[in-house]
Symmetry: C2
Subunit: 523 residues, 2 copies
């Protein structure tokens, strides 16, 4: 009986909005818009170009069906029986959707039907236990920029994973903002470490107030490939409630979660029922957010294509209202053709169809992950960490056999990524002669980095490229850049593999080339 | 003999780059890109999704030819014989252009071929006498936001036209930035006033350093419709050199310049040769910029369509380099479908074809301006300012005849706009009984604004909407909002007409409704 109060625990979080964002005013022009809708009104008030003077009459998109075959090293543009044609015409022509409003200036929030679809998808996938709004944005890069502008004051600290996405940091480094990195295990950042950081925060020593923002790529993180477990999420959320932290959940890889390497695999893609698919995904922070303290950044870049430059915020209305004010004067809504394509495609697919498409992608990225791990197994000896010679390693340890005897020498460890596109490898330099020379020569204050650079160059000479782990170090200031100053494990360094782009054959050859260099150093 | 040194006068302007922008670093990920191009390289370094997994196989756009008939109140989507079909396929399919790179992440600068086209267009139209670069941006709204971020420190002053674009101000008001408005006559802002402001700047009194940025919509300005004359531009440029000011030339209406209302008109659109068309346009600040101190914001919003959310910067390489760093972490390049459409359309049209299209638009917007001015003449008595009863009026004065005698009562004055979409009207309240009542009752500290609000509401009741001039007042702080505090002419207020959107019939009826209200107050 009566209405269900969905949000008993919503709290006022407006004190998180920074001074500049508070000072934004709505554009006065928006006041007039409601009068424009009055029947018979003649408006000299609009400032829009005349839509009959746009030189685009029709757009037609040949898309794929959700269950289209994407098998193996598919060539794009190859004959595909699974084509779904979408036509967007102007007012007078027939078509799936009227193109004209997408060519004209839009409201800052984005197309209303698309917002509605975003809400339906949000309910279906996350069912947030708090009030929220959806607001389109032109890609997660811009969404994060707007969130920093909303929440951070100059010289604040932001809590991040120990290894984090460099462009996200590059944005706030010029503001004098610094990272507070939280170490992680295979289940994600350590709740107890987060708690300790908050509890022991010394404002005087740090020169800034206790952090109020936690930035996480919590599924298939870039670079670590880690996905935070359900239990760990609950612990983290509770700490955020206790210490009044806003969680920014930047989650482009959420739908690219896949089963572990050893899980049996279907020979070809067969979609599960939607409910079963959704239950296989780890619950999001948004789905646990009783208070409205999660700002979720949704992206279509990994699920449709990056060139759309489009995604959406899901957040507390107190935040989306301010984000909309920023959108009006900083970007306006995403590009019209991107909005038109996504809206018409999602309408034709339906939400269930979209979720089928996502399973299709999931299957493909799992296959690519398997190619890489297959190649590791083919070239190296791969041991569970517990059975390896490396104390405290996580996941699996990849070893080479010594040249003279069969003794196993650990080269790197990694956690089998349950999502995304990356395998994050911790290399062990102990017992590597070249590293020992660098270390003892004392020519560098960071022998680990120096040897990692050598290794990277040796790989590049053999025509195989990895991304250096140093790109992903949380930025704690210019005085905390060396392995020692960062407090990282001595005689280790990281590299990131991406398995998203190369073909199976390239992966096999690439790991073979990698092995060749490794063998020459580690044996 | 030997090479021509194009830029003898280029000066070092890097001191204009603000502290935060100076502190930006290039993304380390970009270092790897050059290695990726090496023959035979296998890359595990990229972080891009696999392009075979994008569900768009082909995009087809039906566009108009440059000289297509756009006559009168054209209905969009109506049968048009002037269709140019553009097909963008994936790698394996034939098409005008390969679609794939536009679906994938791009470099921050934008598609290289499109940048090249932007440069060709820049040379042809502006032939800047300084070194410059072109850099794509997602619309002038965002471009201006990036320029403010590049040049302004908190609490700076920015020089603007007395009546200026509100969204441009809304962006910087939260930074504590204030406007320094410069009054204008029919040829644009007054050079002598600009000079006096700079010369008499009292840092102590103002609480901030002398302004270093001049923001101008210098053609068909929004809201004033004014275009700065060639001679005035030269005077302004010289002052900017003398006082080391950066000119931000936000110029979306540049190609919508048209002949005066009284100039004879062809019955239908007939393109002029490109050279003749370009010579008919006022020279830009960029075309006079020997020192590299003009940042030009080019937009396709008014020339192709706003939903593209795309344009480009033309600026000193010292500035574009920093703008690119901001682009990488704040927006990335514009949406791929927008880039693909514009590149393929401009290639098919050719630059001359594009310039023909622009003449076609010019013809249409001139026609619309004429519709509005025709309606003024039909309802009111329109006199040249010099022959009018209003001292110091600019342009034309619009009067009503008194009810009892034939005495002319001035209602508003305006300058015939030579470009853009707007007619900016200065209303005279002297002798209007209702205004006199408000003024003498002393219930408001801004009787002009109070009566302007009444007038606006009376028009809205008669189903005609104008934009209040108050939206466009340069923001000088909360203490300078009334007519008196702003130092504006007493007993006047402004309203803006846009002639871009209504049909001829709507314009006629709208002005009739407007007249009805005016007559009731002014007679």
């Amino acid at each position: 009986m009566g209405s269900i109060n969905k949000t008993p625990a919503m709290v006022d979080l407006s004190h998180h909005i920074n001074a500049k964002s508070k000072a934004r005013h709505p554009s006065p022009l928006k006041d007039i818009i409601k009068f424009m809708g009055v029947d018979g009104m003649i408006s000299f008030a609009g400032g829009l170009p005349h839509s009959s003077l746009f030189p685009l009459e029709q757009a037609k998109f040949d898309c794929l069906n959700p269950g289209a075959s994407l098998s193996g090293d598919r060539q794009v543009g190859a004959e595909n029986p699974d084509i779904l044609s979408i036509t967007l015409g102007r007012a007078q022509t027939p078509g799936d959707l009227d193109l004209t409003p997408f060519l004209q200036y839009g409201s800052g929030a984005g197309n209303a039907q698309l917002i509605q679809l975003a809400k339906e998808l949000t309910e279906k996938v996350h069912a947030p236990p708090c009030d929220y709004e959806c607001l389109l944005h032109p890609g997660n890069t811009n969404a994060w920029a707007k969130v920093v502008e909303l929440l951070c004051e100059d010289d604040d600290f932001v809590i991040v994973e120990e290894y984090t996405y460099p462009s996200a940091q590059a944005l706030w480094i010029p503001l004098g903002v610094k990272a507070v990195p939280v170490p992680a295990d295979a289940e994600g950042i350590l709740a107890k470490d987060l708690r300790a950081i908050m509890q022991n925060w010394d404002q005087k020593e740090r020169g800034s107030r206790r952090p109020r923002v936690l930035y996480l790529v919590s599924v298939g993180s870039n670079p670590t490939g880690l996905t935070i477990s359900t239990q760990r999420r609950r612990e983290i959320y509770d700490i955020c409630v206790e210490f009044d932290i806003i969680i920014v959940e930047d989650d482009p890889y959420y739908f690219l979660q896949f089963p572990g390497y050893l899980t049996p695999k279907e020979p070809e893609f067969r979609p599960k029922p939607t409910k079963q698919f959704l239950e296989s995904l780890v619950p999001t922070f948004l789905s646990m957010d009783t208070q409205g303290r999660v700002i979720r950044l949704e992206s279509f870049s990994k699920t449709i294509f990056p060139g759309l430059r489009m995604g959406y915020f899901v957040a507390n209305p107190a935040f989306t209202e301010r984000l909309l004010r920023a959108t009006e004067v900083e970007t306006q809504d995403p590009a019209g053709l991107s909005q038109a394509l996504v809206l018409s495609l999602l309408r034709r697919w339906g939400i269930d169809g979209y979720l089928t498409w996502l399973q299709n992608l999931q299957f493909q990225y799992r296959e690519r992950r398997d190619w890489l791990l297959d190649a590791f197994h083919a070239q190296f000896v791969v041991l569970p960490a517990a059975k390896s010679p490396v104390p405290h390693a996580q996941g699996l340890v990849v070893c080479v056999k010594g040249r003279e005897n069969d003794e196993l020498r650990p080269v790197f460890s990694f956690v089998d990524p349950g999502a995304g596109m990356f395998v994050w490898c911790k290399f062990y330099f102990d017992g590597v002669q070249r590293f020992a020379e660098i270390e003892s020569s004392a020519t560098s204050n960071d022998p680990e980095q120096m040897f990692a650079d050598d290794l990277w160059k040796a790989w590049a000479s053999e025509l195989v490229l990895l991304t250096p782990g140093s790109y992903y170090h949380a930025w704690q200031g210019a005085d905390k850049m060396t392995t020692e100053a960062r407090g990282a494990d001595p005689r280790t360094a990281h590299f990131r593999f991406s398995f998203a782009t190369p073909t199976k054959q390239q992966i096999d050859s690439g790991v073979e080339r990698l092995f060749k260099v490794v063998a020459s150093y580690w044996r």
